[in-house]
């Protein structure tokens, strides 16, 4: 239907559009009252810079087009990265920005996710007190979702990637072990496999690997000959192959990681439940992993900051593994869903992304946190709640088959 938009039939004209415009105006006013200035990054972003910032899932789903002068361009798949890029190039710090506009994602046939939808968001860059900024970003999104007319009932979920990062720091051995784990913090299955591969369960090397390790032990020239049995093609050079071969030999000689350490990391990442209880469980773990303590002190301070803002912080649901599907978050993360409308994606969410500012800032890092609301999903959730009261049904009519029982992937949190 030409008049339909994401989650909202008939939202492109007349009363439907007016309702949406009122909603985005209300959200914008809320962000403006918090001191955010309006920002409007370009719709078309340079593909080479931007696509390297996103995980493969978003990268694969970006609409890419070509301009004879500007080269490959991408329709912005979110606002955060373009806003940070704009700020790093032009903005004075500290700064807070508010935006509202469409983003685009290609979807697979049969998917009920929209290819175009609105995001209304706020980004807090360079704040002096990052813990207060975390709490403020959470509170702003909570109020943007919860203060409107007939606001839907919300359920929140929080996480903190600093917990996983701190646990990685407790891994003994060469830095590349920890670097490999950090790189896969967003891919839990791969993370676990890597962690196990450092432990006593690592597999014995096969014949090909044994021959390589022998060649390394025999010296540079035998190693070179071992590689040169094959014609060297492509960009990856002899020195790169030799370097990794030597690393493999070093790794093979390392003592395996203590299984108790592996179990402790897995235990920390499995913590979930109300924040107060989760914090207590993590404190127990920190008795054996003191490196975790600073992250937990920050978590505790954040819970206090949230409580000062009227959030029932002790009961706030926490999951140490939440947020690990979005590749640019590296601290506090949160999302809000509408339990009465389980077919909808999260209505809003956000988190801390300091590392992204380094990648866009040419070495300069800023503390950065932000969040977005999906105004269309918010209105749809409100309608679903009304329908629910009227009809007493579990879901709205016309919900896509199977969607009601299946939460949207975590990747949707911010996006």
């Amino acid at each position: 239907m030409a008049a339909s938009r994401a989650y909202l039939p008939g939202g492109r004209l007349g009363a439907g559009l007016a309702e949406l415009a009122a909603e985005t105006a209300r959200i914008n006013a809320l962000f403006a009252a918090a001191g955010a200035v309006a920002v409007e990054p370009e719709t078309l972003q340079p593909a080479d810079i931007m696509l390297e910032l996103y995980g493969e899932d978003i990268r694969a789903r970006a609409f890419v087009t070509h301009d004879p002068v500007a080269g490959d361009l991408v329709l912005r798949p979110d606002f955060t990265a373009p806003v940070v890029r704009l700020h790093m190039a032009h903005g004075a710090t500290p700064a807070r920005y508010a935006y509202c506009g469409p983003v685009w994602r290609r979807q697979e046939p049969g998917s009920s996710r929209p290819t175009e939808y609105l995001q209304a968001g706020v980004e807090i860059l360079g704040a002096e007190d990052p813990i207060e900024a975390d709490a403020e970003a959470f509170d702003l999104i909570r109020r943007a979702l919860g203060e409107g007319p007939d606001a839907p009932e919300l359920s929140a979920l929080t996480g903190d990637l600093a917990v996983a990062l701190a646990m990685i720091d407790t891994v003994e051995g060469p830095e590349r072990r920890r670097a490999a784990l950090r790189r896969h913090i967003w891919r839990p299955a791969r993370f676990r496999a890597l962690l196990e591969s450092f432990g006593p369960a690592r597999p014995e090397p096969g014949p090909e690997r044994r021959a390589l390790l022998e060649a390394v032990r025999a010296g540079d020239e035998p190693l070179r000959r071992h590689i040169r049995r094959h014609k060297l093609v492509g960009l990856r050079g002899l020195d790169e192959i030799m370097q990794r071969a030597r690393q493999l030999a070093e790794d093979a000689a390392l003592p395996p990681l203590d299984p108790g350490r592996i179990a402790l990391i897995e235990r920390a990442l499995a913590v979930r439940g109300p924040s107060a209880r989760s914090l207590a469980e993590l404190r127990d773990i920190a008795a054996e992993a003191p490196a975790l303590t600073p992250a937990l002190d920050r978590m505790e301070a954040r819970l206090e900051a949230l409580a000062r803002r009227g959030v029932d912080a002790a009961a706030l649901p926490f999951d140490a593994s939440f947020g690990r599907a979005l590749e640019y978050y590296d601290g506090f993360v949160f999302e809000f869903r509408a339990p009465a409308a389980p077919h909808l994606p999260p209505l809003g969410g956000g988190g801390r992304y300091d590392a992204l500012t380094r990648r866009l800032g040419g070495g300069r890092t800023l503390p950065a946190v932000g969040g977005v609301v999906r105004p269309e999903a918010l209105i749809a959730a409100r309608r679903a709640a009304c329908d629910d009261e009227g009809a007493g049904e579990a879901g709205p009519p016309g919900a896509p088959e199977g969607a009601a029982s299946r939460p949207a992937p975590a990747e949707e949190t911010r996006a």
Partner: protein, 240 residues
């Protein structure tokens, strides 16, 4: 009222498909010259022949413009994202065998598995300033396979032909492609990763679940089932 049957329009796949049908008493006839993409089906009533590229057959099946079609399982899975919803593989035909695999330069003696490839991708990006490039025309299957193995820091580069040559030409570092004997890979100094088999594919007789299957067409299909010795309908009617 006819059933539309899509068959590959050229090459060995066409010849072998025609032979497979002929063995079952169904003759695929070219209407005119060898190069003309029109034809007829003899030996069974009501089947309209549509000759087109094997790569286009999945799309036509998914759109319901073909009732039946012969094409590779690799193409069905690549071209139709949620293929099980719209297409049933009614019978493997025993030819057109091809393995979809991940291959890297044979000189990468430090890379045996997908896990090695992932580690190398991290080093490669740090050293060269861009992601390791994987050349393929199987974007969907490659992406899913790499995601399942947790590979990061790679980028797919489109390659519609002569994919085995990309490393030598320095336009990509690794490939995802089909191979039957592995000879072309060896000739281009590439090797298959130990856990790099994505899919074992062969030619299949496929049934569209999106095509209109009304009673007269179902009757036609039943007769075709008898001739081919392949169950088409029960599977086709299992549409949710």
């Amino acid at each position: 009222m006819t059933i539309r049957l899509g068959l590959p329009s050229k090459g060995r796949l066409r010849d072998k498909t025609a032979a497979w049908f002929a063995e079952r008493g169904v003759t695929i006839e070219n209407a005119g010259a060898e190069r003309e993409y029109a034809g007829r089906v003899r030996g069974v009533e009501g089947v309209e022949l549509v000759l087109l590229s094997a790569a286009e057959i999945p799309r036509e099946l998914a759109a319901g413009r073909l009732h039946l079609g012969v094409t590779g399982e690799d193409l069905v899975q690549e071209k139709i994202p949620d293929w099980r919803r719209v297409v049933t593989l009614a019978a493997p035909l025993g030819f057109g065998h091809a393995d979809l695999i991940v291959a890297v330069p044979a000189a990468w003696v430090d890379v045996e598995t997908m896990s090695d490839l992932d580690a190398v991708a991290a080093d490669f990006r740090a050293r060269h300033g861009f992601s390791l490039r994987v050349a393929t025309k199987y974007h969907l299957l490659a992406r899913r396979f790499f995601a399942r193995h947790g590979v990061a820091d790679y980028r797919l580069v489109d390659s519609q032909g002569a994919t085995e040559g990309v490393a030598k030409n320095r336009t990509a570092e690794a490939i995802v492609d089909i191979t039957s004997s592995g000879e072309t890979l060896r000739a281009n100094h590439l090797k298959i990763l130990a856990d790099g088999l994505i899919l074992r594919s062969q030619a299949n007789l496929c049934v569209s679940r999106a095509a209109p299957w009304d009673a007269p067409r179902r009757a036609l299909a039943e007769r075709l089932e008898g001739a081919l010795g392949v169950r088409l309908l029960e599977k086709a009617s299992a549409t949710p």
